[in-house]
């Protein structure tokens, strides 16, 4: 099954194909680990100040979680994502993660680099108390940038906690896609 065909759940529990989000506009899809993950908290903290740059270019932003719809709501409230341009969905069966080719292993979650990163992230104030339905702790996250043509222009799959996308490369993909639209001539 292609990534665009995978069904994910919205906050109201309704189901939607992930590809729906890049049918009309480019889309950045950020896959989170479990909702208490300190690495994901740090990633969002780094990304959110630049969110408007993507929104201004007409790029959709979707966060995919691995937990339940209930846990998604709690996460949205904690990260102040209740309102705004970010779409929040979950893939509790991890089908979207598998379709995106993301890592899931004990080594990636509990290897020495992950442990070292987790300590640094918790000391830095990231992370939260974990609930049972926050999602799979072995699952790693990642980021895709998909153009409205369905082409994956940027892909990053986390190898361990603390790993993250090359943001300049991702924004470069967004800018290049915007610059290639018909309305831009020079």
């Amino acid at each position: 099954m292609s990534i665009g065909e995978v069904e994910v759940l919205r906050r109201d529990g309704s189901s939607v194909a992930l590809g729906r989000f890049w049918r009309e506009n480019d889309c950045m899809v950020m896959f989170l680990r479990h909702f208490a993950c300190p690495s994901c908290s740090a990633r969002l903290t780094a990304f959110l100040p630049r969110l408007h740059e993507l929104v201004d270019l007409g790029v959709g932003v979707v966060l995919v979680g691995a937990g339940s719809v209930r846990a998604l709501g709690a996460f949205a409230a904690r990260m102040r994502l209740d309102e705004g341009p970010v779409e929040l969905v979950v893939s509790p069966d991890l089908a979207a993660y598998r379709a995106a080719g993301l890592e899931r292993s004990r080594w990636s979650a509990f290897g020495p680099r992950s442990v070292a990163a987790a300590i640094a992230l918790y000391v830095g104030g990231h992370g939260a108390a974990r609930a049972d339905d926050d999602g799979d702790v072995l699952q790693q996250g990642g980021v895709l940038y998909v153009t409205r043509a369905g082409e994956v222009a940027y892909r990053h799959a986390d190898r361990h906690l603390g790993d993250g996308p090359d943001w300049p490369a991702l924004f470069q993909a967004a800018l290049a896609s915007a610059a290639a639209r018909p309305g831009v001539l020079v």
């Binding site: 630049r50 740059e53 201004d56 270019l57 007409g58 943001w167 300049p168 924004f171 470069q172 967004a174 800018l175 290049a176 915007a178 610059a179 290639a180 639209r181 018909p182 309305g183 831009v184 001539l185 020079v186």
Partner: protein, 210 residues
């Protein structure tokens, strides 16, 4: 002689208490000086200790020089200041100073063709004064006003421009060499991120108007 050991360690102690990295490095040099005095008065002279301290002092001096240069106020000419305010407000003054290394201010007379359709212009143009016309097959399809860019499509996609750009009136432009700009942005991640934001805002404006 023990005075020098105590003086060195007291200086290091104070250096660990200060929060300003510049003061910390300066105090480290002073503390190292006391240690060197101690090593020189020892019998035999402790050259290995002196050598290590000379190395630490050299490193601290280089870093102090960098810090001082970074903290010096940036002075921009009126024209550079205008460019900063018009198009580069997202850059800090120090980032602006670095960008100006690859900027050349130039004049264009009314009717001058600045970008040829199908030809990589090799530069980004920012309108500082005047206006530019975007022409497709001789017809004006858009106007670029002060603060707007020409050439970013080619800069971002490597696709040649789809239109000519002609000065509609006498214009003053900031021309940014794209090869040098790429090298500069590759060596400075923060400046790169800021420039992405600036180019993105300009693109978003063009897409809204299209």
């Amino acid at each position: 002689m023990e005075f020098y050991i105590h003086a060195a360690n007291l200086t290091f102690l104070v250096s660990f208490l200060v929060r300003d990295i510049l003061k910390l490095r300066a105090l480290s040099i002073v503390g190292g000086g006391f240690l060197v005095a101690y090593f020189l008065m020892s019998n035999p002279v402790l050259w290995s200790g002196i050598g290590w301290n000379a190395l630490f002092t050299a490193i601290n001096l280089v870093q102090i020089t960098r810090l001082v240069l970074e903290r010096r106020p940036v002075r921009l000419s009126p024209e550079e200041h205008r460019l900063h305010q018009l198009a580069m407000r997202a850059l800090t003054p120090h980032q602006m100073r670095r960008l100006l290394d690859v900027v050349l201010f130039t004049d264009a007379a009314a009717g001058d063709k600045l970008v040829d359709a199908g030809v990589d212009p090799g530069r980004l143009l920012v309108v500082v004064e005047g206006t530019l016309d975007v022409m497709v097959k001789g017809e004006r399809v858009a106007t670029l006003d002060v603060g707007q860019f020409a050439g970013e499509m080619t800069f971002l996609t490597a696709v040649p421009p789809k239109a000519d750009v002609v000065a509609s009136v006498r214009a003053r432009l900031a021309a940014i060499d794209t090869g040098k700009l790429r090298a500069l942005l590759a060596s400075n991640a923060e400046l790169g991120a800021a420039m992405q934001g600036i180019l993105g805002a300009d693109l978003a404006g063009k897409l809204r108007r299209a």
